[in-house]
């Protein structure tokens, strides 16, 4: 296997990890099961490992020099999705009074589902996206539409929570939790934008 093919393979594996991370995140939060959340942390470490491998391959000469920054930036953006998923598990575990989350669980579930859908679109079409700019364009339109809906749901959750009485630290963790849930969709959109830039340069 050529170095470039290995990098694409690592990227594809990272994208698949984002799907697994979001899937475990959903189960962990909705079932309040910390085993799933620990799995997200393990996946995040696996993502770091793959990002390092991509870095080494690029350092050793994979891809033409002008392409290397965009390829590595792609790896970093995908890794950030995994880091954010990990961050969500931590903030969730820090929340002492989970009754507040119960109040908005219906909308939290919507965001968790939409994040899974976004990662699934990326994961199932990643190599196709790299080879076919039209397919990528179609994918990024759908990703933008879903991201907009996630943004709407996040604002709706914050609006519903605005009058809740919680202690300072719980309030902070709940806010970070909701913000990070939404951040995953932003990052998927950024990955699709970076992919478009990369594909244009190929």
């Amino acid at each position: 296997m050529r170095a470039e093919e290995r990098v694409v393979d690592y990227l594809q594996r990272m994208v698949k990890l984002t799907f697994s991370a979001c899937d475990n995140l959903r189960k962990g939060i909705l079932e309040d099961d910390y085993n799933y959340l620990e799995e997200v942390s393990r996946i995040e470490r696996e993502g770091d490992e793959l990002r390092r491998l991509i870095g080494s391959e690029i350092f050793e000469g994979a891809f033409l020099p002008y392409l290397r920054p965009s390829i590595f930036s792609l790896a970093e953006k995908i890794d950030e999705i995994l880091n954010t998923a990990h961050h969500i598990t931590q903030t969730y575990q820090h929340i002492k009074d989970k009754k507040i989350i119960e109040e908005v669980k219906d909308e939290v579930e919507i965001i968790l589902d939409l994040n899974i859908r976004l990662c699934s679109i990326l994961s199932k079409n990643f190599t196709d996206f790299l080879r076919n700019p039209d397919r990528l364009k179609e994918g990024s339109i759908v990703i933008r539409m879903i991201e907009k809906e996630v943004d709407n749901v996040k604002h709706s959750i914050l609006y519903r929570l605005r009058n809740s009485k919680v202690d300072f630290w719980d309030g902070l963790f709940i806010y970070n939790f909701i913000e990070s849930l939404e951040k995953i969709s932003d990052l998927v959109e950024e990955v699709s934008d970076t992919l478009q830039m990369t594909v244009l340069s190929l």
Partner: protein, 129 residues
């Protein structure tokens, strides 16, 4: 494709006696396009108030949204389908009644709403999954 796969589960309710301004507040704050109007009594049915109703039946006529009640301008009855209905059936209803959203029921409970935008997103997503 079943409507349950496509529907938006965010449904907001408002009392029929509430003012149009309260409906506007809900629509803006919750970032939605329509609000379900609760029945006045057991003999009454659900209704819906949309941005279209607010603009055409209240604001463009220079009526005061604080003084107009939701029940005065809402549309009734609510066009709805069962959760297991097909998207094609929803599309035919939208065309027949010239509406952009159809509500989804499970038994007597409203569990979601489907708009043309949701259907477009679902068709495009299906091409990718």
């Amino acid at each position: 494709m079943e409507v349950a796969e496509v529907m938006n589960r965010r449904v907001e309710y408002i009392d029929p006696e509430a003012s149009v301004l309260e409906a506007i507040e809900k629509i803006v704050n919750r970032r939605i396009r329509s609000v379900v109007v609760k029945p006045r009594d057991e003999r009454d049915t659900y209704g819906v108030i949309t941005v279209r109703d607010i603009v055409y039946k209240c604001l463009s006529k220079n009526l005061d949204p604080r003084k107009i009640k939701v029940e005065e301008i809402c549309s009734k009855p609510l066009i709805n389908v069962d959760k297991n209905a097909s998207v094609e059936h929803v599309l035919s209803l939208m065309e027949k009644f010239n509406i952009a959203r159809v509500f989804v029921k499970e038994g007597e409970k409203i569990v979601g709403v489907v708009s043309l935008m949701d259907i477009m997103a679902a068709y495009l997503t299906r091409r990718l999954l």
